[in-house]
């Protein structure tokens, strides 16, 4: 059934039991919203030299956006920045594939479960919300931006 291709068990599991949720110490903080549906995320990035020491987040939104943030935390924390950026680019490419890609499990691990979401244009933004926030926060952390008070 089509719906199951979007709501994979992996996604529902991350949604119900999110990994790394909660705001912790960070070098930069961003707040991103999906204006069409009201999904929101506050996300902090903590760097340790060239390594992504932590990605912490708080948010509200649909199962897709929340599960995606959980998967991001799993995948990126502990990685070197260059590798984390490659993973982010691979996820972005998968989400923009309109259902034409399956994703490289070696690189994306649980995130390949989102391949089905890429068939639903209205939901791609949900899946990408935390990833775009992460990219923004990382750029700010590298630029030495101070941590803002959480909203």
């Amino acid at each position: 059934m089509k719906l199951d291709s979007m709501y994979q068990d992996i996604i529902l599991d991350h949604y119900k039991h999110p990994h790394g949720r909660g705001l912790r110490d960070g070098d930069a903080e961003v707040h991103h919203v999906n204006p069409t549906c009201g999904d929101e995320i506050t996300l902090r990035v903590k760097l340790d030299g060239n390594v992504l020491a932590d990605v912490s987040y708080e948010g509200q939104g649909c199962s897709i956006s929340q599960a995606s943030a959980s998967v991001l935390n799993d995948l990126l924390v502990g990685k070197e920045l260059g590798e984390a950026q490659q993973i982010q680019e691979a996820f972005l490419e998968l989400m923009q594939s309109k259902g034409q890609m399956e994703g490289d499990e070696e690189v994306l691990e649980d995130a390949i479960a989102f391949a089905g979401v890429s068939k639903y244009p209205a939901r791609v933004k949900c899946a990408l919300l935390s990833w775009m926030a992460w990219k923004d926060a990382t750029a700010q952390a590298l630029a030495g931006a101070p941590v803002k008070e959480s909203a």
Binding site: L3, T36, C37, G38, G61, C62, I64, S65, Y120, C126
Partner: protein, 418 residues
């Protein structure tokens, strides 16, 4: 074909709307419950559009050839239809815009550029409400920012109605304009116009009413409302997108300055200055949405054929039934009035902790089209402490069977995410 009694022949009406018999790619028949976002279009409106383009297409108000005269007559005929539909004292009070947002922005800009006594400046106050669509918030925020005027608003009660308990403190001698929605697009609330208009008139403030969710569903009488401006859009009332209306009292339209300049809106133009055409043309710069206006005229003819009182009565019955059945669904919380009294046929709700996006997706799988999100009324979601809602909204072609399909669908949603 269309009955004129108070009871609708819904089966006959549904046959006029081709899309309502559509089978979706997943094999499910369409259950269209997103009418507050936009309505579907009957064959009669589609035929009017086709006939316009096939037989009469020309630019309006210029040229002496046959097609130009026919196009002008059709366009101006639509203005007559609108004037009659809203009981306007004069057809010259009906300004065509592209949608309700443009109508409201037009009023805000008229007042921003106006001379006294209408001028909004740093000593002025603007009053709106917390249940406005963004289209009746942002234009006033812009006007306030540009003029230094103070923006104030009525809050909401827990049961989804305007809190008018401090009306004399909110609408004061400084208030230049009060702009509010007649029917909320997210809560479904029908607002008490008279109390607000009375207070606004006492302090000499202009009254602007956003009737976007009212015009499609109920008798709209601008004289009875006693407002100064009334805005609404065509596409929610069976007409095409791209056509909206601003009704304004004639003396105001004469006194207030134009906003957009260009062709059509002028009397004479020299390199130094111009004089303007009389209203409504003063506010209709450029080639207008001609076919869309013709479509709106056809839509009004269709609505009049059914009867606005009959449509209201039908939707009231559907709303009563839907409210009753929705409240049987466990964990479902209605955001807005829970009874059909002073209420229209848009019903927002939350379903436990299941995000509306997920609710909408699973309903879509069953062919049920609802709107999810904050419905361009984010302050309402903030007020009730929710990120978003799911909204089902009904129209003249909606049936109790469609309500039943929605309820079955919601049980399915709960099972899926349970």
């Amino acid at each position: 074909m269309i009955p004129t009694s108070r009871t609708l022949d819904v089966d006959a009406i549904r046959k006029d709307f081709p899309v309502l018999s559509r089978i979706l790619p997943n094999g499910k028949p369409l259950v269209y419950l997103d009418n507050a976002a936009t309505s579907q279009k009957p064959r009669q409106v589609l035929d009017a559009l086709t006939a316009y383009y096939e037989l009469h297409n020309a630019n309006v108000h210029r040229g002496v050839h046959t097609l130009a005269e026919e196009a002008t007559a059709l366009y101006e005929g639509a203005r007559d239809a609108v004037a009659s539909f809203i009981n306007a004292p004069s057809r010259d009070e009906v300004v065509f815009t592209k949608n309700a947002s443009e109508s409201l922005n037009l009023v805000a800009n008229m007042l921003g550029w106006a001379e006294e006594p209408y001028k909004v400046d740093a000593d002025s106050e603007i009053v709106i409400t917390e249940m406005e669509h963004h289209s009746n918030i942002v234009p006033w925020q812009l006007l306030a920012q540009r003029t230094g005027a103070k923006l104030k608003w009525f809050g909401l009660t827990d049961d989804g109605r305007l809190d008018l308990s401090h009306i004399d403190e909110i609408i004061t001698e400084k208030t230049k304009v009060v702009s509010f929605v007649l029917v909320s697009n997210i809560l479904g609330t029908v607002n008490p116009v008279e109390a607000i208009v009375r207070r606004a008139q006492d302090v000499g403030a202009l009254v602007v009413i956003d009737a976007s969710q009212a015009a499609p569903h109920m008798v709209l009488d601008v004289q009875a409302l006693e407002a100064d401006f009334v805005a609404f859009t065509g596409h929610k009332m069976l007409a095409p997108t791209g056509i909206g209306v601003l009704w304004g009292r004639q003396e105001l339209l004469e006194d207030l300055p134009p906003f957009l300049g260009g062709g059509e809106m002028i009397e004479t133009v020299s390199m130094q200055s111009s004089t303007y055409a009389p209203a409504p043309h003063k506010f209709e710069a450029g080639t207008p949405p001609i076919a869309q206006a013709v479509g709106l005229g056809a839509a009004i003819e269709y609505l009049n054929g059914v009867g606005m009182d009959a449509i209201w009565a039908h939707e009231h019955r559907i709303t009563e039934y839907a409210l009753q059945r929705l409240q049987e669904v466990p964990d479902l919380r209605i955001i807005g009035p829970t009874t059909a009294e002073d209420r229209a046929a848009a019903i927002s709700f939350t379903l436990g902790d299941i995000h509306p996006h997920d609710v909408g997706q699973v309903l879509d799988e069953q062919g049920i089209a609802v709107r999810v999100g904050h419905h361009c009324a984010r302050p309402v979601c903030l007020r009730y402490g929710i990120p978003a809602t799911t909204r089902a909204s009904f129209y003249l072609y909606s049936t109790e069977a469609e309500v039943d399909a929605l309820i079955d669908g919601l049980h399915h949603v709960r099972a899926f995410f349970g």
